[in-house]
Symmetry: C2
Subunit: 382 residues, 2 copies
């Protein structure tokens, strides 16, 4: 029996994780759930999975859970308590955004196995987090379909024989969008993702390719492969989830239907697989698999991410923070789609880069970048 | 230092194996070479690789090698001596056709690690050979690109979590050939393979899809997966060399440029990989990857192979023998291309199937099937 805490239980990954847990009650038990503001769904989850610890963002929401048969907590301390619950063997880290970093680091320090869906943990603090995990003897199992694919393409093979990683990207809704219309693209246009059902923030990141940029940064830390040996291929069908090329010319790949329950179940049950009753991948029904170079003019965010990774230090945290603010402003109709990379670029350019030795360094850079991005947006001089 | 004997050193696989050996002289040493009738090439190989044992098919050819600094042998005993040379750690089994079976079994019994390119060993005697290998504690490493791909897609994963194997087939030169012209297809037409440079027999087998049928039989024994869980997909680009689907919906695949030196080098150096200096697979240059169901009307040989596998016993040896005779007759202009499956079908229909408990049972069935096939071809009533 594996006992699991989920950070971000009411989000897309959290819900899929609970779907897997509910299919294999003899294998998994829920210890803790941390959620944001979706209290109705959280109440339903508490009723079904009977966790010992529950945490929500706001104190008011916590009060509305009074009387339920569990410890109710709130805020960052609440999330940390769920992440470090003594009964938990594994923590599924699926809070979207920078808010996921601190409880994930707390879980690692408490020796919990990590199923990692939160991108920001490695984007903001990759070097530090991987070092902590090594020291604590903790496994980090990727939940992202791309990193799960790479992980599965390395299992059983030799890491030091890797020539390069190839992350695939669907290209999102703007892959073939007329360039002159990109400036005026609306949130509705950006949220119209061709293959995957995901949250809003990550869907916009997919449309700008920032999502792929963040994944390159994650891959660099998860697999200890330098940036210049990580490539991105646009693969609109999203069937090959990513690939690993070896020194002998062999390329290993993992494929599947676009359903997050596959990589989630793999992370939950590794090194075993679960008989998740999903439809088989039917390549005979898929007309073709195609691959293209990313268009860096159309998608400047990808190179911004490579630049931040190459710069190192707190620059990736700054990239990430500026992007969160810019995407939020875009979703609220305050800036245009093509202003997202412009704002990030400006924030990065004015950042005085420094070492990311402690979480505090990173949080300070994050805070600064958010302020800077807001200032630029407010000034309207992006 | 791994010491290697090669059975079939002057054929396509033998030559590629020696190419790999010559690139890594600090890793590999040649102990023995067995060849057919290409004495000029064999002499060159002896001069370059200085084996202790050499064997050729005919005594006359052996005489022409007198004076070279090695034990010169001939015939089946010669091949067995090369296969069981006490100095050899590994035997590369690459003699084309039924002639490869006996020396390969001898190598297994002598405890040699096997790099298996000879299809007939497993097609004729799969159950027996796998049992012998298990008893002798011998590894059989596949050299065929398809089986190497499956092997690489299983390494590190759990065999008992496999849902199905998917072998890919280029479809050969007749994939889109007009059906009404297939009857009159010439050996030159059949030898015009789109992707791979191989020997004549195997190239005709690729054109009829018998090659894929034989590979299904091999896969059944190599990976212990029943026939009804082995599928074949036509994949004209020959980039994905084969795939394994797991119970969670994940499909692992191995890809690469079509160069046999990749799977050969993997078999020679497993579990390590060698930095074979071949061009990288460039998916960006490949327009698309496509997949189709095999057309069983056009390619009846594939179902004949499934039928033989399902029948078991000596039937797969009969399938193989009848095919060798029919392909030979086709290459010599004595029968048409579409008569190949007709002849095999007739031979299989008149075979009284029995247990394949000993190599002798298999060789007897093989001999009978050859006679029967020749009789049918001579009678011209195919």
């Amino acid at each position: 029996m594996k006992r699991i805490s989920i950070l971000g239980s009411t989000g897309s990954i959290g819900v899929s994780t609970l779907d897997i847990v509910s299919r294999f009650p003899e294998r998994f038990e829920i210890v803790g759930l941390a959620a944001g503001g979706n209290i109705d769904l959280l109440k339903e989850q508490i009723g079904r999975f009977r966790p010992s610890y529950v945490s929500v963002s706001e104190e008011a929401a916590a009060l509305s859970l009074k009387g339920m048969d569990c410890h109710v907590l709130h805020g960052i301390e609440g999330a940390i308590a769920v992440a470090t619950a003594p009964e938990a063997d594994m923590v599924v880290s699926a809070i979207v955004g920078a808010a996921g970093l601190v409880p994930t680091v707390a879980a690692i320090k408490a020796g919990k196995e990590i199923a990692l869906a939160n991108k920001e943990t490695l984007v903001m603090a990759g070097e530090l987090v991987i070092r902590e995990a090594r020291e604590a003897g903790v496994n980090i199992l990727p939940v992202d379909s791309e990193h799960s694919a790479i992980f599965q393409s390395i299992v059983g093979h030799n890491k030091d024989e890797i020539k390069r990683l190839i992350l695939t990207a669907s290209g999102g809704p703007f892959l073939n969008y007329p360039m002159e219309k990109l400036k005026g693209a609306t949130p509705a246009d950006a949220l119209n993702h061709p293959n995957w059902q995901m949250g809003k923030k990550i869907t916009v990141d997919s449309a700008s390719l920032m999502n792929k940029g963040l994944e390159v940064i994650e891959a660099r830390w998860l697999f200890d492969i330098p940036a210049d040996r990580i490539d991105v291929h646009i693969h609109p069908q999203s069937i090959i989830h990513s690939m690993v090329e070896y020194i002998d010319g062999s390329v290993m790949a993992q494929m599947g239907i676009p359903d997050m329950r596959i990589p989630i179940s793999y992370a939950l049950s590794y090194p075993e697989r679960l008989p998740v009753s999903l439809p088989s991948l039917n390549l005979l029904e898929i007309e073709k698999l195609t691959f293209m170079k990313p268009d860096h003019e159309r998608f400047p965010c990808l190179n911004l991410a490579y630049n931040a990774l190459m710069a190192g230090g707190t620059m990736t945290a700054v990239l990430n923070a500026a992007n969160e603010i810019a995407v939020d402003a875009f979703l609220n109709g305050r800036i245009g789609f093509t202003e997202i990379p412009e704002i990030i670029d400006k924030v990065m350019s004015s950042h005085k880069n420094g070492a990311a030795s402690h979480v505090d360094d990173i949080l300070r850079a994050d805070l600064w970048a958010r302020g800077k991005a807001k200032e630029i947006i407010k000034g309207g001089n992006s």
